[in-house]
């Protein structure tokens, strides 16, 4: 019997939503870690019972929780994220050097084949890895030590490393993205990194095509074709066909090309989903209509998906880590809003319905397909 488990991180706790393969009736479990900000939860592809969660608080700092039974029980694991060596400085808002300071874990990415290995993307931007199921964490400092690191500057939302893509065809290749820095790629398991921003253009920068400084909101790829990347940037939806060596814009006929999440259909590598947001100043859907846009051609031509979504007076946002797909047939698509709704589509986006309507603001949504 197949089923899905949706892992939802919110401003005030985590929720686990489960259903059978029909995805019509849902059980809601939670809040887990009530009162804490749950930035991200993600299950191991190698062992679906192993789930990692980032739990944090302005008062009490960072915790990492681990479940070994599919989210029924949890235990705190290691929470020390010490930058490697002398941390040095990055650029502060006023242009002065500012010491790197750990603030929180934005994203956890379990390894594809080993449930005890997991990557963490943190603020101030750095990449950490644990190979002992979260007990200890070690920085992959070649990223921050990349020649441009001292020039990285936080955006208004903080300088978070928010996206980690592992390449299923090349175990040594990792892509990461950092707000207001850009995209970076490693081909040696994280030891060394290269900037992967050629073709990006950001008008808010004094040099719009500079190598670093682009506010990348999210990147995604299909596991069968990991060298093809899709990006939702601060403005612009972009595509790379050469593992980030170059990018071209595929915003096409979107009503606005600002937004946060982007994801790829589980079975159709050219089918891509975004949620257009009015602007960087107005973080809500255009015209108060919540619409997911789908391209079946890898970008440029987009269709609005509205059935079941509010088409008036809707002023929520959908954050960068708050969209995911399952691998059932037909592909399920899920996203959460800052208004606390989690919407699901069991037909690749043709129609939607809310699983829950009144959670705290949703920070992240991940899906496990259980078979």
């Amino acid at each position: 019997m197949s089923g899905v488990r949706v892992l939802v991180g919110t401003r005030k706790g985590a929720f686990i939503l489960t259903s059978d393969g029909k995805r019509e009736r849902w059980d809601v479990s939670g809040p887990h870690f009530a009162g804490w900000e749950m930035y991200h939860l993600k299950g191991s592809p190698a062992d679906p019972n192993r789930i990692y969660a980032s739990q944090c608080s302005g008062w009490f700092g960072q915790q990492i929780q681990r479940s070994d039974d599919g989210g029924k029980t949890w235990n705190p694991v290691g929470n020390q994220f010490a930058y490697d060596g002398v941390p040095g400085t990055h650029q502060w808002y006023d242009g002065t050097p500012h010491p790197w300071e750990f603030k929180r874990v934005w994203h956890l990415e379990p390894a594809l084949t080993d449930p005890d290995t997991v990557y963490a993307g943190i603020e101030d931007a750095a990449l950490f890895r644990s190979t002992d199921a979260g007990a200890t964490w070690h920085e992959l400092s070649g990223l921050r030590g990349h020649g441009s690191g001292s020039k990285w500057t936080p955006g208004a939302g903080g300088m978070g490393l928010h996206t980690i893509l592992l390449d299923p065809k090349n175990p040594k290749r990792i892509f990461i993205a950092i707000s207001a820095a850009g995209v970076f790629r490693s081909d040696d398991s994280g030891a060394t990194w290269k900037v992967a921003t050629k073709g990006l253009r950001s008008e808010f920068m004094p040099d719009p095509t500079a190598e670093v400084g682009h506010c990348v909101h999210r990147i995604a790829h299909h596991p069968s074709r990991p060298e093809v990347l899709f990006m939702q940037k601060h403005w612009d939806v972009m595509r790379s066909d050469d593992a980030g060596e170059s990018w071209r814009e595929v915003s096409g006929d979107l009503p606005t090309d600002f937004g946060f999440p982007i994801d790829v259909h589980a079975h159709e590598p050219e089918t891509v989903y975004v949620v257009p947001i009015k602007s960087d100043a107005e973080h809500f859907p255009p015209d108060g209509r919540l619409r997911v846009y789908r391209s079946k051609s890898g970008g440029n031509e987009w269709e609005p998906l509205t059935k079941g979504l509010p088409q008036r007076d809707c002023y929520v946002n959908v954050l960068r880590d708050a969209m995911a797909v399952d691998t059932l047939d037909r592909c399920g698509v899920y996203f959460g809003t800052t208004g606390g709704q989690v919407y699901a589509s069991a037909d690749s986006g043709d129609s939607w319905s809310p699983i829950v309507r009144d959670l705290p603001a949703v920070l992240s949504v991940e899906v496990q397909t259980l078979r």
């Binding site: 302005g58 929470n79 020390q80 010490a82």
Partner: protein
């Protein structure tokens, strides 16, 4: 025994009910109490003070005997009433709101 009262989120995190009773070797100070606390409950490491520097987290306060001791040096002796267990050492999350 030293009595320590933690805020509810930390009690839930460390699965503690009620006050924590601690034996503290040597002088009773903020630092020695928190070190003993973290030794008993490792998951509390980093929750009240920084892992490496032991600097108090910004929104954490330490109270005892009706006084705010948050800005006292971490190695300063605490009042005798705390050291003798007559009064608890309170770890408080600063109020947030408006």
């Amino acid at each position: 025994m030293i009595r320590v009262v933690l805020p509810a989120p930390l009690r839930r995190l460390a699965r503690i009910e009620g006050e924590v009773l601690l034996d503290v070797n040597g002088p009773v100070t903020q630092h020695s109490i928190l070190t003993a606390l973290e030794a008993r409950y490792p998951t509390l490491g980093g929750t009240t003070r920084d892992h490496g520097t032991y600097k108090r987290r910004a929104f954490i306060r330490f109270y005892a005997c009706g006084q705010d001791l948050s800005h006292e040096p971490p190695d300063a002796p605490l009042p005798d009433a705390v050291a003798s267990g007559r009064e608890p050492f309170l770890v408080v999350g600063a109020i947030a709101g408006g």
